[in-house]
């Protein structure tokens, strides 16, 4: 499904901060009629985890493989631990172990979604897509909306402290082990979190209100922005509820029809494959029954809102109903609706944290179970950015002999390319690179909250350079934000 670059084509390269950071860049290819032919989001980094993890002892994997990503390490830590639970025959965790892990995961979801909203996307929403980049960042938010900036910092801190209390460290912790966890939550730790809980709930409602009001008020402008119909995939619980920690796979089409449902995670290989394209190190997943051309889908907050039948916490469920009503109960296919969906999940996460903190099982002392040893296992979790799949084979020497990892941002590879393509088609005029185009490409990518835009922007900067090149590689035009 890939084409060599015909020599008659022109090429526009957009390199976010990540160019030199090396995590991603965008190329827009024009045909001879100067129309957008294709857009490519290049992921330029390659690590080789699948191979170098081979030969490592299986119990090391949950702490090793989370080093893939320091932005949401808990997700990798838990997905690997879930796979290793099965390897040691301990997938039926004790109530304390499962609830400690869930608390860790909701803490992660809470901090990640808060970070994304306050540090990364609120500048776009509050200042507008065309605001000066000098203020359109978290430092600008701190100057103009100091209360909001403080809320963002404190909410992220709350989530990070939960991770530290359950995993041992804020980043790259060690709490989950094959078959369970290595500590419970003490009464003192619990009381520490209960103290600020009401404040977190209040701030979460406030942040959600900003995203909801913004989306509903600007619906006409946002509806076509980087949008397209697509399939959606996520885990759901056996009763169809949203479940971020565990469940079975469900995929639906753009109209809401089920492509597959309640698929056991252990069988994912029968349903999902990944296409390799020469211009990116990130593969392109697709649903096998639909093929590489049409089988791509979205994951993450928007997909989860679309696939779930309901949410099992009251406030988030009420918000879900409002969200679904906008599209008459059909799946919402708006790229910019990701932000609203993400904040409904933020509220869901803090409601879940509240529920768990009041559960005495967190102080239980039965932490680890083991059973019959297995040689192969899959662990799937809903990470902040979407479905995360870990798959391992372990030999009888306890060494990993095969590892397959499909990370959240990878599932959204084709969708992000589509969003950029849509924006480019709508906003590129001729071969001139406008500020408006730069800003909008940035905004569209950011809706998907890919790791590559995340960390750079968190420090308040997302400069962007666009180069217009002819087929010989000669620079015709350069514009920077």
């Amino acid at each position: 499904m890939d084409v060599a670059l015909p020599t008659s084509m022109k090429k526009i390269v957009i390199e976010p901060v990540t160019r030199v950071e090396g995590h991603g860049k965008v190329t827009i290819l024009l045909d001879e009629a100067k129309q957008v032919f294709q857009t490519r989001l290049h992921i330029v980094e390659f690590r080789g985890f699948e191979r170098f993890i081979q030969g490592r002892p299986f119990w090391e994997v949950p702490v090793l493989v989370q080093r893939l990503c320091g932005i949401c390490p808990v997700s990798h830590h838990l997905a690997a631990a879930k796979a290793m639970d099965r390897i040691v025959g301990g997938e039926k965790l004790t109530p304390t172990a499962e609830k400690i892990r869930r608390l860790m995961h909701y803490g992660q979801m809470f901090q990640s979604h808060a970070l994304h909203f306050f540090h990364l996307c609120s500048p776009d929403l509050l200042f507008g897509f065309d605001a000066d980049v000098a203020i359109r960042n978290v430092i600008g938010i701190a100057a103009k909306f100091p209360d909001l900036a403080v809320q963002g910092v404190m909410m992220r801190k709350y989530g990070q402290e939960i991770i530290k209390a359950t995993a041992g460290k804020k980043i790259h912790g060690t709490g989950a082990i094959p078959g369970g966890v290595n500590k419970n939550l003490s009464i003192q730790e619990r009381d520490f979190f209960l103290k600020d809980l009401d404040q977190m709930l209040t701030w979460s409602r406030g942040a959600l209100a900003i995203a909801k009001d913004y989306t509903v008020t600007n619906l006409e402008m946002l509806a076509p922005f980087g949008s397209f119909d697509s399939s959606h995939m996520s885990l759901v619980r056996s009763d169809g509820a949203m479940d971020l920690y565990d469940g079975n796979l469900r995929a639906i089409d753009a109209e809401g029809g089920k492509i597959f449902d309640q698929v056991d995670c252990q069988d994912y290989v029968r349903y999902i494959a990944e296409e390799v394209r020469p211009w990116s190190y990130m593969k392109f997943p697709f649903i096998k029954s639909l093929g590489p051309e049409h089988g791509w889908y979205r994951v993450g907050p928007l997909a989860r809102l679309n696939t779930a039948d309901f949410i099992d916490t009251p406030e988030a469920e009420a918000e879900r109903r409002t969200f679904m009503a906008v599209t008459g109960g059909k799946p919402n296919n708006l790229t910019m609706a990701y932000h609203w969906a993400r904040l409904i999940e933020l509220l869901h996460a803090i409601e879940k944290i509240q529920e768990l903190l009041h559960d005495p099982d967190l102080q239980g002392t039965d932490l680890v179970v083991k059973g019959e040893r297995r040689g192969e296992a899959v662990g799937i979790i809903e990470a902040p950015r979407g479905t995360l799949i870990h798959h391992y084979k372990v030999d009888d020497q306890d060494q990993v002999v095969m590892a397959n990892l499909i990370v959240s941002t990878t599932h959204n590879n084709e969708p992000m390319n589509r969003a950029i393509q849509k924006v480019a088609k709508d906003h590129l005029s001729g071969v001139e690179i406008t500020e408006g185009l730069l800003n909008r490409v940035e905004v569209a990518i950011r809706a998907y909250d890919p790791c590559l835009s995340c960390a750079t922007h968190a420090l308040g900067q997302m400069p962007l350079t666009v180069e217009l090149l002819d087929h010989a590689g000669q620079v015709l035009d350069v514009k920077s934000t």
Partner: protein
Amino acid sequence: MAKPKVATTSLAGCFGCHMSVLDIDERILKLVELIDFDKSPIDDIKHFSGRCLVGLVEGGCCNEENVHVLQEFRKHCDVLIALGDCATMGGIPALRNTIPLQECLDEAYRNGPTVHNPSGTIPNDPDLPLLLNRVYPVQEVVKIDYFLPGCPPSADTIWAALTALLSNQKIDLPYELIKYD
């Protein structure tokens, strides 16, 4: 007087060290009063808006672009700090150093159980930077002034080092701030 500038970059890292910078929490609001984060430290040489007092480098070098960025950082920063274990000694990505690169690529793009790759192509577009034969710690490429160990270094460690540098003090970190997991 203009505030000193601080530039940061993530090479072959996981952004965990950058997240640890954010874990200074409310102190970040104080930090931005003391310094300016360089507007585009990691975009292109012409985007370095001036001389930087401090450069924080996360991650080692796994491709030609990492090397280029690191050299630019050395050129523009008075003090260059290797932030975390990957910068200091390659870290987890350097586990590939004992394995031929081709085997790593084959596993990811040809052998994996979900790979669909009828032509057996390995990504090789000119837009992708060339991978190095192995992952290099940053001090094997440029001179480094300070090393902050840890995976990641804790927020308190980063804060203590930065504030010492900014106030012209000797960086003197107690054991608790530089011990490992």
